[in-house]
Amino acid sequence: MKKLLCVAFALLLLTGCEAYPKRFSATYTDVFDTVTEFTAYCGTEEEFEALSEAVHGELKRLHEIFDIYNSYEGLDNAKALNDAAGKSVEPPAELIELINSGKEWYTLSGGKLNIAFGSVLSEWHHCREEGVLPDPVLLKELAEHCDISLVKADGGNIALGDPNMSLDLGAMAKGYAAQKAAELAESLGGKRFALSVGGNIVTRGEKPSGKWEIGIQDPDGGILTTVKVAGEAVVTSGDYQRYYEVGGVRYHHIIDPDTLYPAALWRSVTVIAENSADADALSTSLFLLPLEEGKALAEKFGAEALWVSPDGSVIRTEGFSDYE
């Protein structure tokens, strides 16, 4: 009987710790020019701190590699690659991997997602900071220097074949980094966590009360719907996320490479996929593509998507509602 008592005690203690671990959260504002939130269920605060520190460190490392604005000593990052356009450099493996993936996405998206679009995007970035509109003639000139086939990856070397071209990895870097950081947290024993790098959300496991709940914003304010996930990545590309106004007109940050102006097909596109890097590239691609092409692309990745059109109507892939 004493044995039974011991077993009952042990069970009670075990279930007490396993089923009701505490929720911890950390916020970082120094990576990828956005707000990052890491939430995890852990047994102790120390356990969470160790995970959070590792996740933050990994995101910082990747941020520096993909940074096109700042240089870091001893690191051949994206800025170094852009500055050396025309010459070959030996960047870290992650930069080579993301560039090669970017070349694939250029083909997959029918040329809509182009990481070699930096010259045009940096002009828009500059104008957004100044609160003015870009000169259309200048945009056209800059667009002459966006030929991704001139980005040559050869083993450990990358060379931008056009001295006036530059890379902008903004459409892919956050999703890729969130994926890598989540993999690291998992390898360190993290089982129930969610990481949001500026809205690129990766989840692992469930909360004690069930799946992670992600509210999808209505571009006009309020919440459109909530999706429940456990293990999937959720990303939204929307015209309400980063924008500025000139003369009462809103200009958002996702530029259509064909018009050189903010894309106008959709107000927002939300993607649910297995892998956060895919989800990030998919959401930008779908934001720039007509519905049928977007649907076909989502299907290729087994991803689900939700589109909000300019008239406010909502379109979903067949399996999207399974998450609602």
Partner: protein
């Protein structure tokens, strides 16, 4: 049923009941009110009740306002003013950020989603 077993059973039941009572009590006291969490460079700077109008100066960098159940950044020393132009927020988990100053303002409520995209 032996006397010993009965006593064990009673003890087990008592332990389970005590555990349940403790869990219930902790869940009851843990229930947070609606609040606004202000962080500076990731560190918790202040927690303000959402139902009480207030104005908070964050180290001279930003002024955070709570007004009629909503919160927003009234002014900031940053250049791009994205935070000032952000609409007031009131839903659980929503965040307004002033990245150049490392300030985030998040609404905390029970029953909201975990994240918003």
């Amino acid at each position: 049923m032996s006397k010993l077993f009965k006593r064990d059973l009673a003890l087990i039941v008592a332990i389970i009941l005590a555990a349940l009572a403790l869990w219930g009590a902790s869940a009851l006291f843990k229930k947070e009110g609606e609040s606004v969490e202000v962080r500076l460079r990731g560190e918790l700077y202040a927690v303000l009740p959402l139902n009480k109008n207030a104005e908070l100066d964050v180290e001279g960098l930003c002024t955070v306002v709570v007004e009629d159940g909503e919160t927003y950044v009234k002014s900031s020393t940053c250049r791009n003013k994205l935070c000032e132009n952000h609409r007031p927020i009131s839903r659980a988990g929503e965040t307004v950020a002033c990245l150049p100053n490392g300030v985030t303002v998040t609404v905390k409520k029970e029953g909201g989603a975990d994240f918003y995209v």
